[in-house]
Symmetry: C2
Subunit: 349 residues, 2 copies
Amino acid sequence: MSVKPILFEDNVLKMIDQRLLPNEEVWLEYTDYKAVAEAIVTMVVRGAPAIGVAAAFGVAFGARDIFAASFDEFRREFDAVCAVLAATRPTAVNLFWAIDRMKRCAQAHADLAGADLKERLLAEALEIAAEDERINRAMGAHGQVLFADGARILTHCNAGALATGGYGTALGVIRAAVEAGKKISVYADETRPWLQGARLTTWELHKDGIPVTLICDNMAGYLMSKGEIDGVIVGADRIAANGDTANKIGTYSVAILAKEHNIPFYVAAPISTIDLTLSDGSLIPIEERGHDEVTHCGGRRIAPAGIAVRNPAFDVTPARYISAIITEHGLARGDFNTDLAALCAKRPA
Amino acid sequence: MSVKPILFEDNVLKMIDQRLLPNEEVWLEYTDYKAVAEAIVTMVVRGAPAIGVAAAFGVAFGARDIFAASFDEFRREFDAVCAVLAATRPTAVNLFWAIDRMKRCAQAHADLAGADLKERLLAEALEIAAEDERINRAMGAHGQVLFADGARILTHCNAGALATGGYGTALGVIRAAVEAGKKISVYADETRPWLQGARLTTWELHKDGIPVTLICDNMAGYLMSKGEIDGVIVGADRIAANGDTANKIGTYSVAILAKEHNIPFYVAAPISTIDLTLSDGSLIPIEERGHDEVTHCGGRRIAPAGIAVRNPAFDVTPARYISAIITEHGLARGDFNTDLAALCAKRPA
C-alpha cells in the first residue's frame, strides 16, 4: 500500500511536506488557492502529476471563494485564480493540463448556479486525483512486462507515489513488476540538489519493502560499467511530440550513460505529460531555481560565498536515448511521433 | 599565489583540515606517524599527490622515533612504520610511490649513523614536497597550450593546490593558462559525497580570482548539451600502463558525457601517478568508503535509516575516453602504452 501525498478530507487539502521527509512526516493543511500556489513554488508538493492534482484543488478553492453576479464575472476572477496557479512552475505540463481541464469544466457548466458550479469544480479536482492513481496502475500493467525477474533497476529523482496521486509513474511500474511476482531491486540516484532520490524514493520504497540501494548521482556510470544495472526508468515533466523528454536535472546524463552501456532507458508518464503542441524538446522551458539549493545541503552551507552557481531544475533527454515511453494507454517505442499521437488520440474527450 | 595545504615548520607538519573547508580554516599539527596515517584515512589531507607528500613526512616521523642498534633492526621497524602508512588508502598510487621512495632512500643510506639517516629521511620528505610543486608547474606549462583563450573548462573533484604540495595538477594547468594571459572560466562539479568540488575547488579558485561556477554533478551533461563547456580536465589517483585512469567517483561518467558531446577530456597527473606494473585499469583497487558519507550531507541525515548504500570512492575511465594525459615530462596522447612508458623512462633514477 503505497503512500498518498495528497488527501482531501473535511473540505481541507492535506499534503505531506516533502521538504521535511524522511526526517519528519508533517502534513500541512490548505483551504486557500494562494497557499496551494505557494506550496507548489516551495515544493511542499512536487512531481509533475502531483503538481497537477494540487493545482486542481487550488483552482477549486479559488472558485469557491469568488462572489460574482454572472458567469462572465465569475470567469474573469476564475481566470485570475488559474493564472496565479499557472505561474508557479514552468516545466511540468501537467500543471497546465490540470488547470485547462478545470477551465473546460467551468465553461461546460456555465449554466449552473454559482454554488453548483463550485461544487462541480471540486468534484472535478477529486476526480483528477482519483484518476491519477488509476492511470498509474494502468501504466504499471503496461510497463512491468519490460522488467525481467531479478532485474536491478536504476531510477533518478522521485517518480513515485509521492510525485503523484498515489502508486507512482516510474515507481508504479516497479511496484507492478513486484506485484506480478518478480524480484526487483532498485538503485536510487540521490538527485542533487533537492535529494528527491535520497529523501523520497528510498523512503517510499523502503516502506513498501522493495529493496533499494542509495547512490550519489555520479556513481551510476560506475555501477553500469560493473554490470550491476539492468535497466533505467524515470518519470517525466513534459514530453514533446517527438518523444524528447524533460525530467529532473541529471536524467539526460543517465540516459547517455545507459546508451553507452547498452542498458534500456524507459520513461513512464501519463498522457497528461505529453505536449503535442511542442514539436521537440528544445521548446520546453527549463526552470532555473535559486542558488541556495546548490550552495547548501542538509541546511548547511557547503560552498564559499561569492562564487557563481547554476541550478537548472530539469534537462531534456532526446528521444533517441529512450527505449520506450510507458503511458496508461500503452507503450510508445520506435517512431515516437506516430506512437505518441496515437496514444494521445485515445484520451477521453 | 595558490594555497599550500601542507607545511613543515619548526619540525612540525601542519595540514589544513580539508574536512572543514570552506566554512573553517583550521590547521592541524602532526609530529607522529600514526597521527599522519589517521589524517590520511579520515581525509584531513586528500588528493593523490598530497597524500604522497603527507605519507613521506609520516615515514620520516616514524623513522625519527626508532631506537635501533643496527640498520637491520632499524629497517625492520621502519618497514612496520611504512606498512601502517601504506594501509591507509588503497587507490592512489602516489602513496605507495612516496613510501617506496623513502624506503629506497633509507636503503641507499644504510651506512649512515642513526641520527644522520633520520635527518636524510626528513630531507627526502621535504624534497618530495618541494618537488611536487615544481612538477605541477611543469605540468601546467605542458598542458596549458591545450586551452584556448576564453575556454570554459569543467573539472571534477579537487585536483588543485589542496590536492598537492601546491599549485595543483588539473587546476595547475588552469592556473598556467591564466598566467599565460588567457581568460579561463571554470565549472566545478560539486563531487558528492565528499563535496571536494563545492568545498575545495571553488574555494581555492575563488581565492585566486579565477572565475568559478559551481554545479551539481548531474548538471554537467545539460551544460555540455547547451554548448557551455569547451573542455574537461581532471586529476588522477592511478594511471595504468595503457592509460586507463582511476580518479574520483564520477570521473568516468563525465568522460562519457564529454565523448558524447565531442568535448576533449584531459587528465593531469605527475609521473608518480602512473603505475606501469598494471597493464590496465581493471587491476586498480577501488576503495569503498563508509555509508554515512552518502546518507548524510552537511552533517545532517538525508536518507532514511535501514536502506542499502553503495559508496565507491573512485572509478576507472578507460583510455579511449581520454584525449591526452598531461605529465611534468610532457603529454601522452594517441598510443598511451608507448607514450606513458616513454614519459616514465624520463623519470630521474
